[in-house]
Amino acid sequence: MSSQPLLHVENLSREFDVSKPWLNRVIERLPEQHLRAVDNVSFDIPRGETFALVGESGSGKSTIAKLVVDLIRPTRGRILFDGKNLPETRGREFITLRRRVQMIFQDPFASLNPRWRVGDIISEPIYAFDLTSQLKTSVTRRVEELLETVGLAGRDRHKFPHEFSGGQRQRIAIARALSAMPDFLVCDEPTSALDVSVQAQILNLMRDLQEELGLTYLFISHDMSVVRHMADRIGVLYLGALVENAPAQELFRNPSHPYTRMLLDAIPDHEMTGRKRKPVKGEIPNPIDPPSGCTFHPRCEYANDRCKAEVPHLIATASDHYASCFAVEEGRLPKAEAIA
């Protein structure tokens, strides 16, 4: 196995133009407005691992997912998949890279075409990427195999999406992603529309597939317990910036950034271990007009004048553990109570 990560994200930024229409700007003398959804984010995902992005709504999780699968293009920065920058590739190479990166969406009710039969939905990538010649079997047989891989029956290919429950539809979405024979899956909140017992089935399935097919996952979720269960490494996003990046166990055992601590403290104690849940203070600020300095300072109890003025960068707090916080850097943050 090469030491090169499968996905390398470097100084990735994406801005959206949220200005009013040109005529309004001229008449009302308003400047252009830009919203920075992703702000200078860097991370690596080694082959066969799961990297999870967590954060509140509006932190830029889904924007990163779209950038990685090239549904939108970055404003600045690079995304190297297997050493190649996807927006720069052309022709056959571009198509091959596109094939190798597939996506699973949050809402299985919206991501499957209701007028197509399941067999057509799953076989579309096979035709789109012209994989028929690479198959050892017929396309029909391949579709049946895929359905069986995700725990459905081969004959289900004749049915329409509405005949399935939410969990089964998510299985169909996974089968569709797998039919392109990818090695990298971007999963944008794949279980948050599902009930817990069904969520468990899908999470187990995703882990089995990872083992069997050697898949690499970018896993996006707001649910810390799901993330802990799935991820090898976790990146915590706040207002588009990565504030902490650490191996999953280390992050839960030894959270550095005050925001990560806040998120961990807010996990409901469903196991009733007697852990006290601390309600979070404040809410995520408006990204059009982010706070100065460290964007977390209005909600942070350790903030001082430096935090209000300067922007912190990721620094190593332990081996392989990075956080962007002046309080951590200056050592004025008390040790966190580990929850796990």
Binding site: E56, S57, S165, G166, G167, Q168, D195, V196, S197, V198, Q199, A200, Q201, L203, N204, R207, H222, D223, M224, S225, V226, R228, H229, M230, Q249, F252, M262, L263, L264, A266, I267, P268, D269, H270, E271, M272, T273, R277, K278, P279, V280, E283, I284, I339, A340
Partner: protein, 328 residues
């Protein structure tokens, strides 16, 4: 004073279809005591929200209560005429819906909506109602309430909007609040704040809350007792600690095992095979029998009712495993 505020007895809700009648709620029995939070959990389609809708009299036709009774504070409310039920709604029972965006009117200010609701239920003039509105907003934890009173719903964030909705539900000073997935549309970080508000209400006002949710974490944290619903029936009901820590019904056991832990490393989550049956396809006997690991003959034949569990006072389980006559 009577300890029980609301009691639901043998409630059956049906939806007549062209060729058959679907039974969505099948003999639901539960009680809500004064000042307690009763959690109601279950998967989608288990009948959680429907139970709430039946209690507050907002069943959508053709849904109808076919059997049973709902008694609030000694008064039977399931058969009241529309006009009388309207007075109970808001005054005696408040409701908080899942989506704070759709439960507020976007073209009226918060003040207008609160004052209208307050004056519908309480004999107050405009000025008094406005003062009351400020108090309510402060009570649910909205900072600078007086200044924010004339804002429109879109000025508020999701969590703040849900607080406004709770304030609206409180306007008529109800004894019972039905909160239908009040935290589902919100971030985890905001969830804790809303749960805190609900808990404080119970403590300070002595109001009871029926907390409908699919999130076991929310239940574990907020509820005093919990009812687990499955396919329109109560599978297990009891004090939250017992149900969460030491569940009895095989379904509850599976449900608890399927939640990923933040404390322990689990390699594989317990999964309950299959999914909940559709209403037109509920199996004979115990509705859980196709997915149950401890199923035996009787489960295919007879439908279990709630049975007291010997070792656990206050706990009731609808499962034949706990029927003493069978085991002895």
């Amino acid at each position: 004073m009577n300890d029980v505020l609301l009691s639901v007895r043998d409630l059956v809700v049906e939806f007549p279809k062209r060729d058959k009648v679907l039974t969505a709620l099948d003999h639901i029995n539960l009680e809500v005591r004064r000042g307690e939070i009763l959690g109601m959990v279950g998967e989608s389609g288990a009948g959680k929200s429907l139970t709430g809708a039946a209690i507050i009299g907002l069943l959508e036709p053709p849904g109808r209560i076919a059997h049973g009774e709902i008694v609030l504070d000694g008064q039977r409310i399931d058969n009241l005429p529309y006009g009388q039920m309207r007075r109970i709604r808001g005054r005696k029972i408040g409701m908080v819906f899942q989506d704070p965006l759709t439960s507020l009117n976007p073209i009226l200010t918060i003040a207008e909506q609160l004052i209208e609701t307050i004056r519908t239920h309480l004999p107050m003039n405009e000025k008094q109602a406005r003062e009351r509105a400020v108090e309510l907003l402060e009570e649910v934890g909205i900072p600078a309430a007086r200044r924010r009173l004339d804002d429109y719903p879109h000025h508020f964030s999701g969590g703040m909007r849900q607080r406004v909705v709770i304030a609206l539900a409180l306007a008529g000073e109800p004894d019972l609040i039905i909160a239908d997935e009040p935290t589902t549309a919100l971030d985890v970080s905001v969830q804790a704040q809303i749960i805190d508000v609900l808990k404080r209400l119970c403590r300070d006002r002595g109001a009871s809350v029926i907390l409908v949710t699919h999130d076991m974490g929310v239940i574990a944290e907020a509820a005093d007792r919990v009812a687990v619903l499955y396919a329109g029936r109560v599978a297990e009901i009891g004090p939250v600690r017992q149900v969460v820590k030491d569940p009895s019904h095989p379904y509850t056991v599976g449900l608890m095992g399927s939640i990923p832990s933040v404390v322990h490393d689990i390699d594989r989550l317990t999964q309950i095979p299959g999914s909940m049956p559709r209403l037109d396809n509920i199996p004979q006997g115990c509705a859980f029998n196709p997915r149950c690991s401890q199923v035996h003959d009787r489960c295919y034949r007879d439908r279990p009712n709630l049975i007291a569990v010997e070792s656990k006072p206050d706990n009731q389980v609808a499962c034949w495993l706990f029927d003493e006559r069978a085991s002895s």
